[in-house]
Every structure is written in C-alpha cells, then in structure tokens.
Symmetry: D2
Subunit: 397 residues, 4 copies
Amino acid sequence: MAVDLTPSPDVAELARRTAEFVREVVIPVEEANDGVARSEEIRAALQSGAKDAGVFAPHVGTEYGGHGLDMRGRAAVFEEAGYSLLGPLALNIAAPDEGNMHMLEAIATGEQKERYLRPLATGDIRSCFAMTEPAPGAGSDPGALTTRATRVPGGWRIDGRKWFITGADGAGFAICMARTSGEPGETGGATMFLVDADNPGMTSVRHIDTLDESLYGGHIELVFDNCVVPDEAVLGEVDEGFRYAQVRLGPARMTHCMRWLGIARRAQDIAVARAAERELFGSRLGELGMVQQLIADSEIDIAACRGLILQACWELDQGRSASQSTSIAKTFCAEAIWRVVDRAVQICGSLGISGDLLLGRFLREVRPFRIYDGPSETHRWAIARRVLRRHDAKAAR
Amino acid sequence: MAVDLTPSPDVAELARRTAEFVREVVIPVEEANDGVARSEEIRAALQSGAKDAGVFAPHVGTEYGGHGLDMRGRAAVFEEAGYSLLGPLALNIAAPDEGNMHMLEAIATGEQKERYLRPLATGDIRSCFAMTEPAPGAGSDPGALTTRATRVPGGWRIDGRKWFITGADGAGFAICMARTSGEPGETGGATMFLVDADNPGMTSVRHIDTLDESLYGGHIELVFDNCVVPDEAVLGEVDEGFRYAQVRLGPARMTHCMRWLGIARRAQDIAVARAAERELFGSRLGELGMVQQLIADSEIDIAACRGLILQACWELDQGRSASQSTSIAKTFCAEAIWRVVDRAVQICGSLGISGDLLLGRFLREVRPFRIYDGPSETHRWAIARRVLRRHDAKAAR
Amino acid sequence: MAVDLTPSPDVAELARRTAEFVREVVIPVEEANDGVARSEEIRAALQSGAKDAGVFAPHVGTEYGGHGLDMRGRAAVFEEAGYSLLGPLALNIAAPDEGNMHMLEAIATGEQKERYLRPLATGDIRSCFAMTEPAPGAGSDPGALTTRATRVPGGWRIDGRKWFITGADGAGFAICMARTSGEPGETGGATMFLVDADNPGMTSVRHIDTLDESLYGGHIELVFDNCVVPDEAVLGEVDEGFRYAQVRLGPARMTHCMRWLGIARRAQDIAVARAAERELFGSRLGELGMVQQLIADSEIDIAACRGLILQACWELDQGRSASQSTSIAKTFCAEAIWRVVDRAVQICGSLGISGDLLLGRFLREVRPFRIYDGPSETHRWAIARRVLRRHDAKAAR
Amino acid sequence: MAVDLTPSPDVAELARRTAEFVREVVIPVEEANDGVARSEEIRAALQSGAKDAGVFAPHVGTEYGGHGLDMRGRAAVFEEAGYSLLGPLALNIAAPDEGNMHMLEAIATGEQKERYLRPLATGDIRSCFAMTEPAPGAGSDPGALTTRATRVPGGWRIDGRKWFITGADGAGFAICMARTSGEPGETGGATMFLVDADNPGMTSVRHIDTLDESLYGGHIELVFDNCVVPDEAVLGEVDEGFRYAQVRLGPARMTHCMRWLGIARRAQDIAVARAAERELFGSRLGELGMVQQLIADSEIDIAACRGLILQACWELDQGRSASQSTSIAKTFCAEAIWRVVDRAVQICGSLGISGDLLLGRFLREVRPFRIYDGPSETHRWAIARRVLRRHDAKAAR
C-alpha cells in the first residue's frame, strides 16, 4: 500500500459528467446573464437540469438524494462545477447552503434534518449562516461575538446585528450564532440556532453592495430584535457553537477553494484560447515569452492549489481537524486563484476588461475570497502560531 | 546650481487649492454617486465649482483660460485632482480631453485651435481620440492600423472600425487616426483627422461594457463608413500621424500616472484611517505587523511612483522624447497603484469590498491602466529593447 | 478505492530512521565542516554510518543492496536525507550518482551493471554525467550538442568539451553524451558512452569556482580529445541518447526537489527556533506580525512543494513521462525553496548571514537549482507550449 | 524656479571621471581578486590611483583634501564608485569610514578632527563604528544597548561586547556607543567614545565569518573590558549618543544605497552584455520575452532606486531629518538591488553562478544589506508607524 492519487472510478465518472453538464447547460446560461443568476427561474432551471444530468447534490448523503461524496470526492467534482460561476448553484453546492448541509448532516437531530436538511438538499429552500457582525463584533476574530441569546420560557430570545450574511435574501431559514454565556472577547459560550425566515424578530435591513455579485441571495445585513425561538431551534449543544463552527469551517474553506479553482481554470482556458488565436507583432500571442510566463505561472498555481486542497481533504476525511492544512490551502488558493484570473485579464488585454469576456466578472467575484473565510493575514498568523507552538512543544521535551 | 526638488511657489499654491477643492467640493459628489458622474448636470456643476475655485484647466495655456503648467507642474496638481475619481473631470483634465488639448496646443493650426481647442479648454465640449482598433488592427501594436483614409476631391474619406474609444459618447469631435499610405504592419503612413460628431459617416455602434466605469463618456465602438472630411480636418501633416501620436503618448501616459497616483493615495488614506480606528484582537489594526507591512509597502510604492513620474516629466520638459523614462514610469505606476488599492481593500476587510467604501470601485477603475496606454508587457519589451540597443551601440564603438 | 495519501508503513519507517540518522550522525559532521565534505574520509565515514543505520541506498534495487523505493517512496525518504547538506552523500543518493544509478538500472546491460552500477550502489566508486557544454553547445537547449563520437574499429572516438560536470573530480567513470549523427541544433543523434576515469582521452581541465560548493567532486570542465572507447561502452542504443536523457531527467529533477526541500525545512526550523527564542521590542520575535508572515509563507511554500512533488512522482510511478508535472514541480520548488531559505536568513538577521548558522551556506547551495536541471525560464516556456498544444489539439477536434 | 533634476556641472564632471577611473583602474584589480581586497597593498594602490585621478574623498570638506559634495552630489558620484566592489575603498568612501567622517565633520571638536578625521580623510588610517551588540543587546532595537561607560577619574571606563563591527580589523580607532545613563530598553542615555586601537581594554575576539566578504577589515566581534578612555574621548555631548547616531544613520543609509546601486547597474550591464551576445534556440538571449522581462524589471528597479535616493538626499540637504524618506529609500533599494543582481545571475545561467563572472560574488555581498542599517521589517514597522501618527495628528485636529 502506497500513496495513490487515482480517483475512484465513481468520482471520476461524476466529475466527467459534471464537466459535461457545466459546459453544455450551465455556461450558456452564465454567458447570457453576465455570470449572475438574477431570478428564481434561472436557479430552478439550472437545478432541474442538474437533476436530469444526475449530478445534483453530490455532497449530500444518498438518503437525501445526493451522492455522498467525501471531501476528496468533492475536490474532483466541485472543481468541475466551479468551472462556471453558476455551476455550484446548479448542483446545489453553492455557499452557504453547501456548508450548512454539511453541518446539519453532522450535528442536527433527526427532526431538524427532516425539517431543514431535506428541503435544502433538494433545492426546495435555501439557507444562510448568520455569524459575521459589524465591528467591533465577530469578524476576523469570531470570539468577539456580541449577538446574545437569553433564556426565555420554552426557548431563547436573540438580539444582535449580523452583516455580510450571504444568501439571506430569500433563504428559508438562518443558522444564527449567538452568545449564550461569557463576554465578547472570550472564546467559548456560543450557540447555534435555527431561525425560520418568517420569524418576525429577524429582519433584513439592507443588501450590502459588494464588489462580487454572483453569490445567490446577496450579502445581507440582518437585525435580530427580540427574536424568540423554541428550544428545538438549538442546533447541537448549548455553548458549543464555536466548536461546531470549526466543523463547518474547515470543509467550507476547502469547498470554496475547489469551486474557485474551477473559475481559475476557466479563466486560464479563456486566456489560452486568446493566446492561441490572437496574432501580435507577427506571431501568435502565445509565442511571446512574457505571455508564456503568464500562462506557465497560472498552470503552476493551479497545480499547486490542487495539491494543497487534496492534502487538506485527505486529512479531513481521516477525521482530523486539519486546521493547519486547511489554513495553508485556503491562504494559498485564495491568492493563487486571484493571480490566475488577473493574469488571464492581462493576456486578453482590452478584451479582458470588457464584458465581451467574463474575466472582469471573475476578477470581481474572486477578490473577496482573500477576505472571507478568514483573511489571508489571519490565516498566516494562525499558521505561524501553530508552527511556533510545535517548536515550543518539541523544545520542551 | 544643483538638483532641486522644491516645487515653484505658484505650483505649490495651485496644488494646495486643488487639494482643498477636491476635499470640500468633489469628494461629496463622488461619494454620493459611487464614483461615477452619470449626467451632464454633475459634470457641469463640478466644472463650474472648479472655475469658482480658480483651479480649472491647469494644463492649458493662459490664452485659453488655463494655468499653463509644464509637466512637472502637472505632476503636483494632477495628483491632487486625482485624489477623487471625479477630480480630473472637475478640473477638465480627464482623459482623453486632457491629452487632446495637449496635442492640439502643440500641433493644430490657429483656426483649428479656435474651433476645437478653445471650447474644449472651457469644457463647453468634449472630445475623443479614435486610434485603437479591434484585432488584428491597431492595439498593442499601433503599426497594425487598418482604418484607411483615401483621397477624395477637397478632402478624405475615412473607413474603418475603432473600439475602446474613451469619452466618445457625447464628444463634440473625434481625432481619428487613419492610414493614408502603406499597409497594416508598416510603421509609417498614418494621418490624424478632426471629425465632427455630426459627421454622418461616423457612428457609435455600442457602449463596451467594461470593468471600469468612471471615465466620462464611456468606451465606445465607432464605425467610420464613407466618412468624408475636408482638407482642413487634417491635424498636422499627412502621413505624420504616428509621430504626433508619440507627442501625445508620452505626456498622456504621465498624466494618467499622476491622476491614478492620486487615487492610490486616497485608497491608502482610507485604509490608514481604518487601521487607526478599528480594534482587533485587542489592539488597533494598525499595530498588527502584517497590516503595517501593507501600509509601509504602499507608502514605498507611492513614493517610488512619484520619483519616476518626476524624472519622466523633467525629461519631457527638456523637450526630450523621454520614451524610456515614460515607459518605466508607466509600467511601474500602473502596477504599483494597483497594488496600493488592492492592499487598501485587504486592510479594510469585508468593508473594503463593500459599497460602504469606494475601494472596490477604485480597484475596478485602476485595473485597466495596466492594459491601456500600452500593456505592461509591451512596455517591458520596449524597455528591454532600448537597453539592448544601448548595449549594441556601445559595443560597436 | 479513493485517493490515499498514507505512506506505506515500510516507507514511513525508513523515513523515520533516515531523519534520526541525519539528526544524530550527519548534522554534527555538517556543522563542523561548514556544510561541505572536503575529504574522502568524511564521505566514507558518513556512508559507513548510513549502512550501520540501515538507511543506505534507499533508491537502488535490493539486488544491489538498496531498498528499491519507487518515486513516491523516495519523496518521503530523500526529503529527510536532504535535511542536512551532507545527508544525500551519506545515503549515496546525491547528484549525480543517484540519477546515474537510476538510469543504469533502467538501461544498462547485465555486464555494465556489474561493472558500473554495483560499485556505485555500494559507494565504492562515484560517477558523473557529462552532458552540458559551454556555449554555443548543449545547455538550456540540449539539441545544441556538439561533442562528437565517430566510429573507429571496435569502438568510438569522442571529441569535445563539457563543463559544469558535477562530481567529476574523483569519479570512477563518466557517462558522456556525444553526437553520433546529425548536426548541432538537431534533436536526434546522440549516444551515451561509459568512459572510465583512467581513459587518457578524458582530461579534467579545471574546477569551476561556483557559488555553491557542497556537491561532492565539484563542477568540472572536461575535455574529450581522441578519447577512444570500445563498443561495450555504449549505454543503451546508438542514437537514442536524448531519449535516455529524458528517462534520467524527470526523476532526477524530482530527486533534486526532494533533497532541497529537506534543506528548506531545515532552514525553516532554524528560523523558527530563532523566532521562538529571540526577544525584540519586548516580545518574542515570533510574535511580531511580519516575522509570522515570513514563517507562514515558508510553511505554505513547503506544503505546496510537497504536493507538487507527490503529483509528479505518482505519475512517474505509473510509467508516464510526467514531463508537464515534473516541469511544474521543478520550477515551483526551485523558486520556493530559495524563498524559504532567504526568509530564514531574514528572520535570523545578522546571525543569518554569519557562519554561526548554516543559512548563508544554504542560500549559496540552493541558488543554482533555479538554473540547473533546466532554468525556470526554459521550464516555463515548455509548460506554456504544452498548454498551447493541448489547446490546439482540442480546438482541432 | 521649478523642480530641476540637472546635476551641477562640477558633480557631473566628477561623476564622469569617477566612472572612468573605476572602469580603467579599479575593475581590473577587482576582477583579478574575486572582488575582495585582501591586503593593504591593494588598498594603498587603489587609493593612490584615486588620488592621481583626482577623485579621492569626494565627500569630505576641501580643508581635508576632499570635494565637499552634499548628499545629492554624493548620489551621483558614489553610484559610479559603487560600480565596482572596490570602487568605494579606492575613493575612501567605503563603509564605515565614510559615515564616520561624515559624523566627525559634523560633531567632533577641532582637536578631535585633527587627530581622527584628518588621517581618516587621507586614508592613512581606517576606523570602525562599534554599536551593534549580540542579543539581547543593541541590534534592530538600538535602545536595547547594554555596553556601559562608567565615570572614572578623568574619564570613563567602558565594558561590553560588540559584534559585526565592520572594518575593525586594522582600524586606527573605534567610535564606541555605550550607555552612560538609563537601562537597556530605554531610548536615551547613550554616549559616543573615540577609542584608540591600541587601548588595551578593547580586544578583537574573532572575525565573524559572513556571507559577504568585500567590506575591508571584516566583521569583528570586539570586547570592551575595563577599557578606560579620557574625557577628551567623548564625541559630542554625554548622553546624546542616540541623537548623533541619527545624524550618522540617515546619510549612511543613503550612501549604502548609492554604492550598492552601482553594483546593481554593473550586474545589469553584465547580464545585458550576455543577453546581447549569447545565442539560444536560434535567437539572441535578449530577444526572448522572459529575458526581456528580467532586463526591463531591473531597469525599472534601478530607476526607482535613483528617484527614492534623490528624494531622501534632497531632504537631508535641506537639513531635514528625512527619517521617513531614508527608511523608504533604504527598504526599497536593499530589496531592489538584490532583485537586480539575482536577475542578472538568472540571465547568465550557469555562468552566472560561476566565478567566471562576479555575479555570485555580488549576490553574496548585497544580501546582508537587507539586514544591516535596519532590517526591512524594522523599517517597514517604522514607516507604518509614522503614517499612523500622521493620521492620528490629522484626526486630532
């Protein structure tokens, strides 16, 4: 038994079919809509197409209609889905639904699964994950959490403000992180709550206008004001919210990387096509050394992303926390994917910044990934601290 | 007599007043409009404000109501104007009008100056510069020019297609570059023509949707089809168009750098303010080493841009072609300004990619500068070739 | 069956023992000798130690006293050996012997194996690979080969000049690449010859003084002048030398990466130890954000190297040419390893450039790796060309 | 009066003669000695040559036999001297003598000037500046100074340890920084002392082996043990040592930049010559795009260095502290010069890392400049802090 990088035949086949579906069904819709699905009709049509193609919900257990892929399997399939901005929506593996399903499957009670996971898995409803708060609340530092949940008879009352809550517009429910004990700045004491969209205590205050626009359901500012939920709304155990967030976080980081790696590959393919076809100064663009350097650097970046994602996914599949390897992969991928798209824009020149190609759109969509799911700086800090602790532990022996 | 970096008192005072005008008058308008002037009313109001503040048209000769600044003077004043996306429009020094005025002042006949330069200098009309063509025409390689002007009795007939013609929507006239002799691929044989907007042979085909949106009058695709102009429409001498383009190009490159350097400084100021005020992990954001590195690197980039711009401007003011120093400055500035804005986004985190700040807008606006006025790759190629020729000349001695 | 990154227990155990041997036996010798083995005594002592520790010659088949590791197994073990500059010499896996053994095992006749491979595998003799020539001969472009072998009765006569022939001083034999047909600039027509050290036609002209010094046996300039060898000296088939060079090249590139990755890890460990222990401005060096960034970036680089090496090794073990993945891995690793060592120097400050640590030595040793085994630029050119060919093939369908 | 970049005719002429002297006299000596002057004979011959050429001691006042150049003048001349590793030694403007002369001229008493400055200015003696201490003493943080000077009748007794004291071997005297009040960690309380080489209380403990080797007189570890000096040994005022260090520091940083910029230009010229002459894949190396990119990037770096040096020098000549602009210039130059030399190595390939060219030597010599005179990280920290203080001051208004 040695290291083996051959994907299982099932995964390979599902990835192949996903690639085909994206190419034939999704990309035409994407190109016709500037990369943004702006209506429920588009979402429904894409998801219906994915079901027909047998590629829908690859990550969810078969009992919920999915393919039950582990993280390594997702790495192969999500990258293919991510080849179009609308691929993940079509397969029902877009953020934040995908991460929420992952967490619900791991933590929710049977009843919660029936009520929330099942319709989510089929695409009948969508969801959001309400964690981030405006400064000085929970942002790069989750421990700064200020939203409070206080005990009321038969349940809890949630009060606080959340923002950049992706997908909240139109979501059937929110998973809200609130402090049930301790004070902002302390690392424990958070609890996750399932809040139905029709709860009068949860209000969408505004769409936050952002550089990126393709994540379905927008980035929303939510206010929880006297938002009362029953005991059954607690997801997992009280005061264990930060631990569950970690359960969600590592895999969610990786699936972001997988999807955006798909866009990086797409950008590279667009640029390579341009380099192959455009003539300049008497030769093909792709025969000019500086263009070759851009192409090669992107090829290297893409390969390195894939290696780092695989390493982290394999650790996650072993049941390890993989906090170091997911931090490493997330930091590198977010920056490498950005570089790849930026190089593609440069290769395509004025066309690259025009709407005639989708590269400008891609550039806008991938930039925030260097910030969400932990800014690169926060991850670097965490990576270095783990290295130093490893050293200290060794030195203490 | 030694090297002296003290700006003249007049220039220093004009720069100071420009900075004040931008801060007090322009930025409020910019922030209320997401950085984009979308109506003639806004343009008129801004330009009227600049006239009241005595900062209008600093680059044009006093006989046309301007301040007659040389390139070094422009470096100081344009940077201050560029501190807001709308500052250059307000001062009437936005591209492409500013470069067109520069060229008309240098080349046009007295009559042409009265008819085109005077109303342009006052802001009564706008203009565009129709050079770039879709592949395989004039782009990174101007010599590939395919638009033709053929002799007709009493004038010329122009036929061809141009795109990415900035400011063409609403412009009073276009300066159109067309081939009057030779074949595409040859470096001579171009002529510049002044074409009035109401010439039925010149048609705007479409607005090209681009990543950037703040340059007034859009990026337009123009078709010249049986576009007849009289002999008086020739700007300068027949067949000398490429030489004049060089007259325009060097200075126009530099004024782009100056204006965008203003935006870089603005982005840095926004980020520094955020770093000074935001608390994270128990300290000011600006006390964290990685944030300090971002701030310092941007400070270095800004200082280096200024030094390179100054060098090139000084050469231009000596009447030198300054082709090497403007290539160097353009390449470095376009990339450095981009880095500065990108770092500012990163420092501000999720706020940085939201519409609550203008940084995402700045990022979109400065990206194309690495492509227009010569892509970085083309400039690097030209820089290296000049270095090699310099070596060959030395070696031959 | 899915992707599996668990190393086999045998490999894991050999890697563990190698690490222990390097730490306990090799590093003391390395530190006492400034990283350079300057005598046969040192080499003999180290190799004898490796034999005692049961870690000698891990790459060679068991019939020659080795462990028969495939490329994936080498990746794990060579990295541990490379943790010291003298580890590879100790294990008998240093360049160029290691690559020569690999090739002899694959190509040589039984008789040649007994005569050359067996004593090489035991460390009784050393060898060199005489391919590179001074300009305008075979360098970045192997096809420029000018050394000639001409038919003489019963054998061949070799004439030409080679340089940068690593390990030639004291080698028992050379594998010399010479042109048996065709002209310089043509890609075929090369043959490999086994030339004994005592052949009077092969002379060492000089030691080339280089930035790096740790590769045993130096970088030598060799002259072949009327060097007559018998027919049995031909390695493999006549005129097939370039094809065999490819057999050697891919794996040799990867084993270079593995060994130097070990040094990168070592440099990182030295820097982390320093960052953990040194106090500055009232805190541990490792608590300063910019130092954390350096540490994290190196951690990321090391992880990415490992992923890329593994991918290429797996392909090689499948019997694939792996030319793209070895080019990608080589280019990235050579540059990343350099960055890691450079960052370690920076973290350690003045100590980092002093002989009190070995980091300055490491910096000198790894720099040439961005040049030998194909300069980064040549690999990028090859990578981009393969991408473009892939596109062309697809587009032609 | 406007910004003017024309050097004064005197400076231009001295720079021209310096360039000529370096080319004709210094470089042959440098190339014959691997860039390192290893004997007093070499030093004497070079300095005698510089006197004959009328280019000796350009920075010292005419009353001491120099040319009395201000900082802007030095920028032009020192860069030419720095074009060879031995140029600064020849002109008597090498570190640390040059900085010491600068400080003595500014601070010393008339008597001290006669005794120390005059023979230093003529090259009859050399000197060193004993400030840096092993951890946890004065290094990146000068305030950590631990060497003590205590009052004794008629003078002071100095005790402490210094290291990396450049030029100490053979120096006629040392300027030693010692704490006369306060505790390590406090920013005041240091005094500078002139200590004669024959003082029995000052002992050279060892030559520190370093990556760089060309600075004459080595990097020495010095022990001050019961080192008694008279009151006249105090340079300037007691307890004002840190302030004087600043007087020395800003200009010394800049002269380092100037000299090393000369080496960067030299490296670029060597690489360009190679690129112009070497044929590869059927064209000149310099016609390959990736090589052109390396050349262009170095050209840009060199130009940017020059602009930043000039800005800082101009500020210094105005009598300003220029702490921000010298930090900016030092940080950028140290890194840019390193990049330029590294690119030159890469362009020259295997020749670049061989002793046949001096590029490997240059690489070794310039690496430490990113560490001494303040590591890049310390400067970045200082730069950012000044920016934040500027913001705070504005915000407080």
